[in-house]
Symmetry: C2
Subunit: 128 residues, 2 copies
């Protein structure tokens, strides 16, 4: 199946990127936020495994390629302005490189940031 119609509909920014929100499909947890380019979206749709674009490493970033904490794509959705993606996924293990289930583990409370979730695994276990 070709995905050109979907890829062509996405309004990538001048750097060729689109923001992507990963949400656990059944619990609704917002797991992480990252970026994709056209090749990353194409690979994700073709393989069913989420692939992002790492701006710091300037290359495709197959989620879980080192840690094994992959994201299986359940559904890709596009927003009204076509410039943001919502990825409904099934997360294996933890989404955050800190070993936490999701990346949004600091909450603004009482004028400070408070950690509201602890790592479930250590980064050493994830990355060796």
């Amino acid at each position: 199946m070709t995905h050109d119609a979907i890829l062509d509909a996405i309004a990538f920014d001048p750097q060729g990127l689109v923001p992507a929100i990963a949400q656990q499909h059944d619990t609704g947890e917002v797991l992480m936020f990252a970026w994709m380019n056209r090749a990353a979206v194409a690979e994700t749709l073709a393989t069913g495994e989420v692939c992002y674009f790492s701006r710091s490493r300037d290359r495709l970033w197959r989620k879980g390629e080192k840690s094994g904490q992959t994201q299986r794509l359940i559904e890709l959705r596009l927003d009204c302005d076509a410039d943001a993606l919502l990825l409904l996924v099934d997360q294996t293990g933890v989404a955050c490189h800190t070993g936490r289930r999701d990346c949004f583990f600091r909450a603004a409370r009482d004028g400070t940031l408070q950690e509201i979730a602890a790592p479930l695994v250590s980064p050493e276990q994830l990355y060796g």
Copy 2:
């Protein structure tokens, strides 16, 4: 209460912006994706009503200022890299300017984009 400690922790991009995901606090719906600058985050924390920064209008955008479809802030969370925000909100009415509950109403299915939600109100009702 001052929120400087929170504001100082956010890694705004070179344009002074940070991506923000709005999620309905009780249902888990991802409502929309937008951007905030430091002033928008400061106002949101101070007032408890979500204020974004509109890149197209180059000014603060108090969500619902025209439509009445405001977002009350329940909690602001920061991700591991401090460069993305998750806003847990209580959405009045609909989040999307098209009149839909959320902005992610197009799903990639069978090689095309399919609309999976209909407007609940007309844009004319929202914006006159």
